[in-house]
């Protein structure tokens, strides 16, 4: 995650899903706070 858009997780799928879920949660947090 620290690498942001510089790193893309292809496999395994469950890790990719975790990354997306955390990014989505972070986006929601920033939006709700701002």
């Amino acid at each position: 995650l620290a690498h942001g858009p510089d790193v893309y997780v292809e496999e395994p799928a469950d890790l990719r899903a975790q990354v997306v879920a955390r990014l989505r949660a972070a986006a929601d947090l920033v939006r709700s706070a701002g």
């Binding site: 995650l1 620290a2 690498h3 942001g4 858009p5 893309y8 997306v20 972070a26 986006a27 701002g34």
Partner: protein
């Protein structure tokens, strides 16, 4: 530290040294057998100073601090005009016993000495440490109930030999006032850079060694973590900047002179480790178990990387521009997965 404080600290150190000599000396002489003037002469200190030292000794003793725990000194006999000026010390018999370390204490000292030996640059230091280690290990082995030698080996990797060599190379460059060409990994950009620096010294902060130097690429002083230096070539070129002492990191890595921004973050409990891993300016607990923390930030990109690493357990409170950058980075990352922020 002011000159007065330095003098006071130095005086205290000398006094502790004298006290550690004084008690065995008095024991060796026997109870009630030493006159003040004789002791002052033997110990090489003025009588007035010796009385001052004995007044401090009066406050020393075993943990607990009750009167029976403390060393007793008959001060009246020394300062009263009718006193016989004979030093009488009692309740200090335990100081005559040889020092005994528990296995845990001995292990801690041995590990510390081995770490010191690994990092020692001079042969003289190594010899002194080796002698102390041999004595301690012998004593620990003799004291072990099972008769097992109590050797403690932190392993070859306790101190990276390459780092130790690099440190020696850089310290020599400092001493010879030669420039150094560095290949250095910059974590905030995740890239390796090459630069010429004027080395000023190797300093340690929280167990990490840094080369403090004037960087000709940045045209500013910079600190380089030794474990991020990929290569260091000492050049024949003399340093081009005036001599300067390396930075004093005892008060922390950041100083007032740095271009440092204090940023307030709100951290969920999952991200509380930040308060222990970094050195925050302030930490304020929140009702939900999280914390609000003020962090010094010298590199904006570092902060965004930290926020990404902590996502979704951290957000910026104080500086809206970071929130915008952070939100933009999240959106870019989500786009990779075909998601909109």
């Amino acid at each position: 530290m002011s000159a007065a404080e330095r003098s006071s600290a130095s005086g205290a150190r000398e006094q502790v040294g004298r006290l550690l000599t004084l008690v065995p000396y008095l024991h060796a002489k026997g109870a009630g057998a030493v006159r003040l003037d004789e002791a002052a002469r033997d110990l090489g200190v003025p009588e007035r100073q010796l009385v001052k030292d004995l007044r401090v000794l009066f406050l020393c003793g075993l943990p607990g601090g009750y009167p029976d725990d403390l060393i007793d000194v008959d001060i009246d006999a020394l300062v009263d005009p009718d006193g016989d000026r004979v030093i009488r010390v009692s309740n200090a018999d335990y100081l005559a016993r040889p020092l005994r370390l528990t296995p845990t204490e001995a292990t801690a000292v041995i590990v510390a000495l081995r770490a010191l030996r690994s990092g020692a640059v001079s042969d003289e230091t190594r010899e002194v440490v080796d002698r102390a280690l041999a004595k301690l290990e012998q004593a620990a082995a003799e004291g072990a109930a099972a008769g097992e030698p109590a050797r403690v080996d932190p392993g070859e990797d306790a101190v990276d030999p390459e780092l130790a060599r690099l440190r020696v190379t850089l310290e020599r460059a400092v001493a010879r006032r030669r420039q150094v060409r560095l290949r250095y990994w910059v974590p905030s950009r995740d890239e390796e850079s090459e630069r010429i620096v004027d080395p000023r010294g190797v300093v340690s902060h929280r167990g990490v060694d840094y080369l403090d130097a004037w960087c000709h690429s940045a045209e500013a002083p910079r600190s380089f973590r030794l474990d991020r230096i990929a290569a260091a070539q000492v050049l024949d070129t003399p340093v081009a900047t005036p001599p300067a002492e390396p930075r004093d990191l005892t008060e922390g890595f950041f100083t007032q002179a740095d271009d440092v921004l204090v940023v307030t973050l709100r951290l969920a409990p999952e991200a509380r480790w930040v308060t222990e891993y970094y050195s925050p300016v302030a930490v304020r607990p929140l009702d939900d178990g999280g914390v609000e923390v003020d962090l010094q930030v010298a590199d904006r990109r570092w902060l965004v990387r930290l926020l990404m690493r902590l996502a979704p357990y951290a957000r910026v409170v104080s500086h809206p521009e970071f929130t915008e950058t952070f939100a933009g980075t999240i959106a870019d990352a989500l786009n990779l997965y075909g998601e909109d922020a």
